[in-house]
């Protein structure tokens, strides 16, 4: 038998190296492409380009910021016809903020310096040519006046002050009075039910109602002071618009800005997006409550899942009799990772919310239920149930990672500890757990990444579109486990599929996704830093 020729320029099997690198490249391209898409679309939301006056072939014109340009659907590929989408704003006049224009109809584009962009509390943005400004003290500034821009900025700042005072009254003080009234109403019903004297409670109620009325009139007064300041402007067709300055969040002259100004505006908008509160059905404003809700929920979930998972893994690996029963348990745990997340949501709703939450309400809040129209406290979705549901969902990841980490601790270390007379538990606590901490943290990192991005189960157990309060705040008991909260992942779903103004929501979907990715990366970086510290500390001996 002749052996095959063993001289060869390339060793056998070497093309597989190229094949495996190809696999990596395909994966990388897809991931980077996705990130690039999100990054481009997400960041362009905050950029303020020059805004043209577009003259069309039928003699009409519009003022709008170019939103996108695309090949008209149905046009031949050989001679594509393009169409452009402009954001024109002024929804109260136009009924919509975006218009599509066939590119062949565009006759001219001009960039006059007096075009004014406005972000408003209601009816979306506006692109107008200002005429005159009536200031709060009654003085009138014409648009041609060189002091116009300065006066406008002053009025916007004043408007912001008014809104802040209103928020303070509405959210802060009226909120407190409302909570007190709620409690008093419960007290009243209880007193009526138990036939105890109600006069004192009724008096307290009257006092609260009087206070409520005072605060309401105070709020109205502040509102009225803000309403005197108005901007008269013209839209492209020449129609006049009156914009109350108290409604204006931000003003800019898009065709007067230099690059540095645009960059400044970009970062101010980005800052508002991260630190501000949402408005306009979440399509504008900031995401602070959602960022905060996601963060608190994810951290709380990690705090729940880590001890559970580690304890379960210790029992499985160190104490349980290794046999077929254990193998079945292990397979079941691993299969839990493959259960669709919505199933965990349904379980969370059925077990955590209705059974556990309902029982907690029966046991500890029966008074509340009886005298407050059966309003549940824990028997409805909330932070605690969301965290528990996601903790359950990510449990297999932590268990598997911990088991692997425990198994990877060198046998010698385990024997050395036992040989000195340490008990099994002492060996686990003193030697095995510290040495496997980096591996356990890897599992927690994976669990956190999965939990932070999860939406479907949360929709059932406590995430809402708009939460009036944060789950963590300055009032006792600080961490409000029963509160519903906002979540970035749900925000993406809500903006993308539930928003009434899909054109306005589209860029925000990307921006929110970008934020969610950044948040997950930050959480992971934190955990990885801890893991690397631990690894340096507990690196195993070898020589």
């Amino acid at each position: 038998m002749a052996l095959p020729d063993q001289d060869s320029a390339t060793p056998r099997g070497e093309p597989w190296v190229w094949f495996s690198s190809l696999g990596l490249i395909v994966g990388l391209v897809m991931v980077l492409g996705l990130l690039g898409l999100v990054l481009m679309n997400g960041l362009s939301v905050f950029w303020a380009p020059p805004v043209p006056v577009v003259r069309l072939d039928d003699g009409t014109s519009l003022i709008g910021q170019l939103a996108q340009r695309r090949i008209r659907p149905g046009s031949p590929a050989s001679a594509p016809r393009y169409e452009r989408q402009y954001q024109v704003g002024l929804r109260e006049l136009n009924g919509h903020s975006y218009v599509w224009v066939d590119e062949s109809r565009v006759r001219a584009e001009e960039f006059p310096a007096d075009i004014l962009g406005l972000e408003r509390m209601e009816n979306g943005p506006a692109f107008v040519r200002p005429v005159r400004l009536t200031r709060a003290d009654g003085r009138v500034v014409e648009a041609a006046d060189p002091a116009f821009a300065e006066a406008l900025a002053a009025e916007v700042a004043a408007g912001a002050g008014v809104r802040e005072r209103l928020t303070e009254i509405n959210r802060g003080r009226i909120g407190e009075v409302n909570a007190a009234m709620e409690q008093t109403r419960v007290d009243l019903r209880r007193a009526e039910d138990q036939k105890t004297p109600t006069e004192a409670i009724r008096r307290a109620m009257t006092a609260l109602e009087a206070r409520y009325a005072t605060l309401g009139s105070e709020a109205n007064q502040i509102k009225a002071t803000g309403e005197t300041s108005k901007l008269l402007a013209r839209e492209a067709g020449g129609r006049e618009v009156v914009v109350p300055m108290a409604q204006v969040v931000r003003e800019w002259f898009p065709n007067r800005l230099g690059f540095a100004d645009r960059l400044g505006l970009f970062f101010r908008r980005l800052g508002e997006f991260i630190f501000g509160e949402p408005r306009e059905a979440n399509t504008e404003g900031g995401l602070m409550p959602a960022i905060f809700g996601t963060l608190v929920m994810t951290v709380f979930m990690s705090l729940l899942v880590t001890p559970f998972g580690v304890i379960a893994a210790i029992y499985l690996r160190e104490y349980a009799q290794q046999g077929s029963l254990l193998r079945i348990v292990r397979i079941s745990v691993n299969n839990l990772a493959g259960v669709p997340s919505i199933v965990f949501g349904v379980f969370g709703l059925g077990f955590f919310v209705y059974v556990l939450g309902g029982s907690i309400d029966q046991l500890f809040f029966s008074d509340q239920l009886k005298y407050n129209n059966n309003t549940p406290v824990f028997g409805t979705g909330g932070l605690l149930w969301c965290s528990l549901t996601l903790a359950l969902m990510t449990l297999p990841v932590v268990i598997v990672a911990t088991e692997e980490a425990l198994a990877a601790v060198p046998r010698g270390m385990r024997e050395a500890s036992l040989a000195t007379g340490a008990s099994k538990w002492q060996t686990i606590r003193e030697i095995l757990l510290p040495a496997s901490a980096p591996g356990i943290l890897t599992g927690v990192i994976l669990a956190m990444a999965r939990g932070a991005g999860e939406v479907a189960p949360l929709m059932l157990v406590g995430v809402v579109k708009l939460a009036p309060t944060l789950p963590l705040d300055g009032t006792a008991p600080f961490l409000h486990l029963d509160r519903k909260f906002m979540h970035l992942g749900f925000h993406v779903y809500d903006l993308g599929f539930q928003s009434p103004d899909s054109d306005a929501a589209r860029p925000m979907v990307f921006a929110t996704t970008l934020l969610l990715i950044v948040l997950v990366v930050c959480l992971n970086l934190g955990a990885i830093t801890i893991r690397n510290r631990l690894r340096a500390r507990y690196k195993t001996a070898s020589f």
Partner: protein, 273 residues
């Protein structure tokens, strides 16, 4: 393994007997058999190990010497599917006595492993680990025990200024001496050594052998070794195992100079094994 040439019996030096020795059957192994599942690893072993002497177990790989050693502190309990017959007593008491906690047995029988295995902790914490697990919290007591153990393990002068440094920064020989210090910190009565020098260079080996010689004033030492020179240098008695059976057990001098079994002679003169 540092054995290069098979030794000839005449070249081997044998230490004189230990005047310190006490009870002759301090560790008594009687008709001891041991199975890993279906595989019989030890067959009817009977050895009596005197107090405060060094006994070396020698024999080719797989002969059961390590298995026997690991039975003396019931380290084999960690393995599934094991079974034993016969009896092992230490100072007259069976180590399989149900009234004896395996933990308290291991506190009295320290062990040093083939591969040094310091914990990823500081040098100090490594040495006092055995005291920590029994609940000693008094810092002065721990420090005293640490110094005593490290001095006995001939490591004190090398590490006294860096007790809080990680033990993983030590050299291989230092690590092994640290493991010896750790094993003797809670003052066990018996010290088991499973090829303690097999991964060390000749200088480190020399230090450990010197140490064994000093330690036997206080401890009964059982050492498994592949090096016949080492067995001859450090031990008072030598047991030769082959295929799970005890072939010969006698004074080291006798085993090396004038073995009664042909197999023993063949092994120590390097003709097989």
């Amino acid at each position: 393994m540092i054995t290069m040439n098979p030794p000839t019996p005449s070249r081997i030096q044998v230490r004189p007997g230990n005047p310190n020795e006490g009870r002759q059957d301090y560790i008594s192994i009687r008709d001891f058999g041991f199975w890993y599942g279906d595989k019989k690893a030890l067959d009817a072993i009977s050895v009596a190990i005197p107090e405060r002497q060094v006994v070396a177990f020698i024999g080719p790989s797989g002969c059961g010497k390590s298995t026997l050693l690991r039975n003396l502190n019931r380290m084999n309990d960690l393995i599934d599917g094991i079974r034993h017959e016969g009896e092992i007593t230490i100072n007259g008491r069976s180590i399989y006595d149900p009234g004896l906690e395996v933990i308290s047995l291991r506190r009295r029988v320290g062990m040093v492993f083939q591969k040094s295995n310091p914990f990823p902790k500081s040098i100090f914490e490594n040495v006092v680990y055995a005291l920590r697990v029994v609940g000693v919290k008094d810092r002065a007591l721990l420090e005293e025990a640490c110094e005593t153990s490290l001095r006995k393990a001939a490591l004190w002068d090398e590490v006294k200024d860096r007790l809080e440094d990680s033990a993983l920064g030590l050299s291989g020989g230092q690590m092994q001496r640290l493991c010896i210090a750790r094993a003797i910190a809670n003052r066990p009565e018996i010290l088991l050594m499973d090829e303690p020098c097999s991964a060390l260079d000749p200088i480190a080996t020399g230090k450990i052998e010197e140490l064994i010689h000093e330690l036997k004033a206080q401890f009964t030492i059982v050492i498994v070794t592949h090096s016949m020179q080492q067995a001859a240098r450090v031990s008072d008695r030598t047991a030769f195992f082959y295929l799970g059976k005890l072939i010969e057990y006698d004074k080291t001098e006798k085993v090396f100079m004038n073995p009664s079994q042909a197999q023993t002679e063949a092994y120590i003169s390097g003709r097989f094994g």
